[in-house]
């Protein structure tokens, strides 16, 4: 048996495609999704991979141990040019298969658990309150990314890890440089700067043990012959610092835009604070901020609903499209804070924004809590918040998968 479609086929759908609306996938994805659950798409380097838009198929593939997340494999697809940078091969935790993945993930589970997120809630509420006070004191207009959406997750992750927040301008800029790079060389340069910074920070923690934060704790667990080498620790620090602030800040920003552009839904949320957790999950579903639930490579031939994913073929699960599978989400392009039905506190959680399988987002409890606090504090304190530029004038990220805006001017 041979793969029916040549890898170089120029007629294949080119992935990725930019959104024209901040909370909806491109119309090209929508047309693709209407044709079936799996599709062959062409990447920047001319290689072709599977793009999964069906929710059930995505869950099965992401939970299938025959699908590898190992980015150091030669057959692992580089979905964007930046992902060809050596710094991304491998990424800690999400770029490893069991057993190494499971060992590192469990090492971090206590720090990112539901209980930990609940314990941090009060301090995040205080932080959000202080940031809104600052905006009100300064007066309109405000730039919501810099004044609010970025400092919340950035301060939370730096405190959790034990990274000095005083260095935030550096690590935030390098993270954007890494995640928004248009070339492997640019990504590598930004990633290397972050690596050197964290390497030095960990050296300081080794010299002065007993500090607070995850990194100080893990310094004591480093064993060059064991489950956590020093290089593993730097790699984990890098992944947690990057993963801990950029996507959450952009999810706050795009969530605010989505709410402001759906005043009836914002009013429904404000009139019933009990709907907040479900509303946050509905925003996570709609915005699908990373646009991707996961990328894998098949290690064996896998049959799925009449399709055969061959060993060595890459698979990209689209979160924006699996989150719009009408079999799971009726009228899927509609934003509805009551979609989950409110029968159960977890009823809005069927979206695949955080992925599925063993690699489902480590920080999801923390992210949900930060989002709940960010939206409720902001709209409680500034109920007449509005965009200070027209929606189509927002400077949006382009050419990649991570969605976002460069700035978010607001007034009241």
């Amino acid at each position: 048996m041979s793969t029916p479609i040549p890898a170089e086929d120029e007629r294949l759908f080119a992935y990725p495609q930019d959104r024209s609306c901040p909370w909806q996938p491109s119309s090209g994805y929508r047309e693709l999704g209407e044709k079936g659950p799996l599709h062959r798409v062409r990447l920047w380097d001319g290689k072709s991979i599977w793009m999964v838009t069906g929710h059930a198929q995505a869950r099965r593939l992401l939970a299938d141990p025959r699908m590898s997340a190992d980015r150091s494999r030669d057959d692992f697809p580089a979905v964007l040019p930046r992902l060809d940078a050596p710094i991304f091969k491998p990424i800690a935790i999400i770029g490893f298969d069991p057993p190494v993945h499971d060992v590192h993930r469990r090492l971090l589970a206590p720090d990112f658990s539901l209980k930990q997120a609940r314990a941090l809630r009060g301090s995040v509420e205080e932080l959000a309150g202080r940031l809104v006070e600052g905006m009100l004191r300064k007066g309109p207009p405000a730039e919501l990314i810099e004044d609010y959406a970025l400092p919340i997750p950035s301060m939370v992750i730096s405190e959790l890890l034990g990274v000095p927040y005083d260095d935030h301008a550096f690590f935030e800029a390098m993270t954007v440089g890494l995640l928004q790079a248009k070339s492997a060389a640019d990504a590598e340069a930004a990633g290397q700067a972050l690596w050197d910074y964290l390497d030095e920070l960990i050296t300081a923690k080794e010299r002065e043990p007993g500090g607070t934060g995850v990194l100080s704790r893990l310094v004591g667990e480093v064993d060059e012959d064991g489950d956590l080498t020093r290089e593993d620790l730097v790699r984990i620090a890098l992944a947690l610092l990057i993963g801990g602030h950029d996507t959450t800040s952009q999810m706050i920003a795009l969530g605010v835009v989505t709410l402001l552009e759906h005043p009836d839904q914002l009013a429904a949320l404000r009139s019933d604070p009990g709907v907040l957790p479900a509303a946050v999950d509905e925003l996570l579903r709609m915005v699908s901020v990373t646009d991707v639930s996961g990328v894998r490579v098949a290690t064996e031939d896998i049959e799925i609903d009449g399709y055969v994913v061959r060993a060595g073929e890459g698979v990209l699960v689209s979160s924006s499209m699996t989150n719009r599978d009408p079999a799971v989400f009726p009228d899927p392009y509609r934003f509805d804070v009551h979609r989950g039905g409110g029968r159960n506190a977890a009823s809005g959680r069927h979206h695949l924004t955080f992925g599925f399988g063993i690699h489902q987002c480590l920080g999801q409890n923390l992210a949900r809590m930060e989002l709940e606090v960010a939206f409720s504090v902001l709209f409680d304190r500034i109920p007449d918040l509005r965009l200070a530029v027209p929606l189509d004038g927002l400077p949006t990220r382009s050419g990649g998968t991570m969605q976002g805006v460069h700035t978010l001017p607001v007034e009241w």
Binding site: L62, A63, D64, P65, D102, R105, R106, A109, P110, D111, F112, S113, L114, K115, Q116, A117, R343, N344, A345, A346, S347, R349, H350, G355, F356, G357, I358, Q360, Q364, N365
Partner: protein, 74 residues
């Protein structure tokens, strides 16, 4: 209804403790703890939501009217 959770599979996502807080909790290590291995039928919807949402397939629930819970399946 018989409920089991496999701590070797658990990745501490937390959905079960949100969905069915009288049945599931998490220990200091962040991993699942079953509080009630034989909860009443009134919790079935919540427990089945927990089973469905568990990303690492660590939870198993015996269907109504059957015996003990099966081993969690992938």
């Amino acid at each position: 209804m018989k409920v089991t959770a496999d701590r070797r599979r658990c990745m501490a996502a937390g959905h079960c403790a949100i969905s069915a807080p009288t049945v599931f909790d998490h220990g200091e290590d962040g991993l699942v703890v079953v509080l009630d291995a034989d909860p009443g039928e009134e919790t079935r919807e919540a427990v089945e939501t927990a089973e469905d949402l568990c990303p690492s397939r660590a939870i198993a629930v015996a269907p109504a009217g059957t015996g003990p819970a099966p081993v969690p399946s992938a």
